[in-house]
């Protein structure tokens, strides 16, 4: 598994699980209960992992200044914007984003399962997010103590997924000294939206 990228393993799991889910007797209330319990358990694990990581981040409270230039989204005419923050604040913001994503996932799943009565996705959704949670940069750094270098150097690159490939993929944050200096004193703050 070490050689494969997360996307590939995700795909393998999805395909495999689709085959498995064909064999599962979904009408049986006993299995339904089991699958629901598994989904809830997986989410509980994810939340506790995140919470522990968050706790660790707050404990470390790394106040090193982190400067990077955020590239604007494709299509917008805005100039690249400098973001000055700390490692601690960056990590906390990342964690917030993770919580949000998690909530969104659960919300979607609740809608699909409770309102539209789909049961099959429960199985996949209790495995993929769990796997994703352990593969996330913040968890890797703080829970597994991996050094924040290379791929995991802050600011993180956006995961090269399907969507970012469509958007041109070049919008990675840069820490180039020249770009930072150019953007630093640009006076872009305090813009009031009319």
């Amino acid at each position: 598994m070490a050689g494969l990228s997360p996307q590939v393993t995700n795909l393998i799991i999805i395909l495999g699980m689709m085959q498995v889910s064909k064999k599962i007797p979904w009408e049986d209330s006993q299995t339904l209960f089991l699958v629901r319990a598994a989904y809830l358990l997986s989410n509980a694990i994810i939340i506790s992992v995140y919470a522990y990581t968050h706790y660790k981040i707050n404990q470390k409270k790394d106040m090193t200044t982190l400067k990077y230039v955020d590239q604007p989204q494709m299509g917008s005419t805005e100039e690249p914007k400098l973001i000055t923050t700390t490692v601690h604040k960056y990590d906390v913001d990342q964690m917030k984003a993770l919580y949000k994503a998690q909530m969104m996932g659960v919300g979607m799943m609740a809608f699909m399962h409770l309102y539209m009565n789909y049961t099959n996705p429960l199985l996949i959704q209790s495995i993929i997010p769990l796997k994703g949670a352990f593969e996330g940069n913040e968890v890797q750094i703080h829970l597994f103590g991996k050094p924040a270098i290379g791929e995991m150097k802050r600011p993180f690159k956006a995961a090269a997924g399907f969507m970012s490939a469509l958007q041109g993929g070049g919008a990675a944050p840069t820490q180039d000294k020249k770009t930072i200096e150019a953007a630093e004193k640009a006076g872009r703050g305090g813009v009031k939206d009319e």
Partner: protein
């Protein structure tokens, strides 16, 4: 609960009708037997406590009107009771919240009043006081004005180099816990919503050499002021910022976003310096300030010396420098302000330091000036572009008007000819353009 809601909006229980049904038009009062009241229990057991009894059925006997206490029991007023309970609870929470906010504000002013009184001739909104009654008679809380249950403000004036000082206290909305919880929850999910916090924001306006404008001509003391107008200092933006808030601050404030951020080894690692020039930083980062910051701890949010507007200038008028000094710190939950007093005092006295020493070399100021001139130039250019566009639009309009007038003066045949000519002219123009491009 459903019954309560139903009851709230009315139309639930059938209302009592004094005329027994079954009667065709009028009751024959003469022939009717003398009505005798039946006991309360028989009726209530038949209909429960749901209000008056519907009289359409024949089993219920004809009775006299009941007294109020016979028609209703306490149980009928369940919803009113619940509403009343909530009302009382709301009022109590409000009273408790405003009370504890007031107490907090009072403890703040009690701690800071001595400093303010020592530095300023006038503190609060009561007008100038005689020195003898200043200390003993004036209660500290009278110096504070309650703008709203969560906002308190005070004012001070009358000090060398300082025109006036505004202080705003923002507290939690303790009187409305639901709003408070909602705001906390929103700040978790939306980046644009700031987390509510209890903080003090003080803005100090230095005289900057314009004392004469505030003290009118013939008053005693005006003459002396005129002679001695050396309270000006060079304009620049310089800030000490808590790193937790620096991203937000750079986004929110135009003046701060003109600076460069650089950590100083002399400062604790949770604060950073935002400055336009290293020399300015060297001058302002005194050991006394460092000590005050260390003592205040990370309650301190920022200390900003600025001459630029907070909002990005939209017009040329906005770029006129207005010097201010800002201090912002969060209130300690313990209510012990002694650690924050040094930074507050330093903040007030900072103008003296600036007036004395903030006159930098021309090389230092050039960089600072260029930033401001660039902003002005940008605005001027935008202004000119807009004007040019307007002029072009007007020219176009005049042209069209002329053409319409010409057309109007001609008869049908000539009009047709005119239009054809115009078309031809346009075609030629287009061709010309194309050949030029090629």
């Amino acid at each position: 609960m459903a019954a309560i809601i139903k009851g709230l909006f009315g139309g639930a229980a059938p209302s009592a009708s004094p005329i027994p049904a079954g009667d065709s038009d009028f009751a024959d009062f003469a022939g009717a037997p003398d009505p005798t009241p039946i006991s309360f229990s028989t009726v209530s057991s038949a209909a429960g406590y749901g209000g008056a009894v519907p009289t359409s059925t024949s089993t219920v006997p004809w009775t006299k009107w009941y007294n109020v206490h016979e028609r209703h029991s306490l149980g009928d007023f369940k919803q009113e009771g619940i509403i009343l309970g909530f009302l009382v609870l709301t009022v109590l929470v409000h009273l408790f919240g405003t009370g504890s906010n007031r107490k907090k504000a009072k403890s703040w002013i009690s701690a800071h009043a001595p400093v303010l009184k020592k530095e300023f001739a006038l503190v609060g909104f009561g007008g100038p006081q005689i020195a003898s009654e200043q200390d003993s008679l004036v209660l500290p809380e009278s110096l504070l004005k309650e703008k709203s249950p969560q906002e308190f403000t005070t004012y001070a004036s009358g000090r060398q180099n300082v025109a006036f000082l505004d202080v705003n206290l923002t507290l939690h909305k303790r009187y409305s816990p639901i709003t408070m919880i909602a705001e906390f929850a929103m700040s978790l999910f939306f980046d644009s919503m700031p987390t509510p916090a209890e903080r003090v924001e003080a803005i100090l306006y230095p005289f900057d050499g314009r004392e004469a404008l505030t003290v009118p001509g013939q008053l005693p003391g005006a003459h002396e002021l005129r002679k001695d107008t050396k309270s000006s200092y060079d304009g620049f933006v310089w800030a000490i910022v808590n790193k937790e808030t620096m991203k937000q601050l750079r986004d929110d404030r135009y003046d701060v976003s003109l600076t460069g951020t650089k950590d100083s080894p002399k400062l604790p690692n949770w604060v950073t310096v935002m400055s336009e020039s290293a020399e300015i930083t060297d001058f302002l980062l005194t050991p006394e300030l460092i000590k005050a910051i260390e003592e205040a701890g990370d309650l301190l949010e920022h200390l900003i010396i600025t001459d630029q507007p907070v909002d990005q200038p939209q017009k040329l008028d906005d770029t006129v420098p207005k010097k201010r000094i800002n201090l912002s710190y969060r209130l300690p939950s313990s209510g012990d302000f002694s650690k924050l007093l040094p930074i507050f005092e330093y903040f007030i006295r900072l103008t003296d330091t600036l007036v004395q020493g903030a006159h930098f070399r021309a090389e230092v100021l050039r960089k600072v000036r260029v930033t401001r001139e660039d902003a002005i130039k940008k605005l001027q250019k935008a202004d000119e572009d807009e004007k040019a566009e307007e002029r072009a639009l007007e020219r176009e309009k005049a042209k069209k008007l002329k053409r319409d007038l010409e057309l109007k003066g001609l008869d049908a045949k000539a009009q047709k000819k005119y239009l054809e000519k115009e078309k031809e002219r346009e075609m030629r123009k287009m061709q010309k353009k194309q050949t030029q491009k090629g």
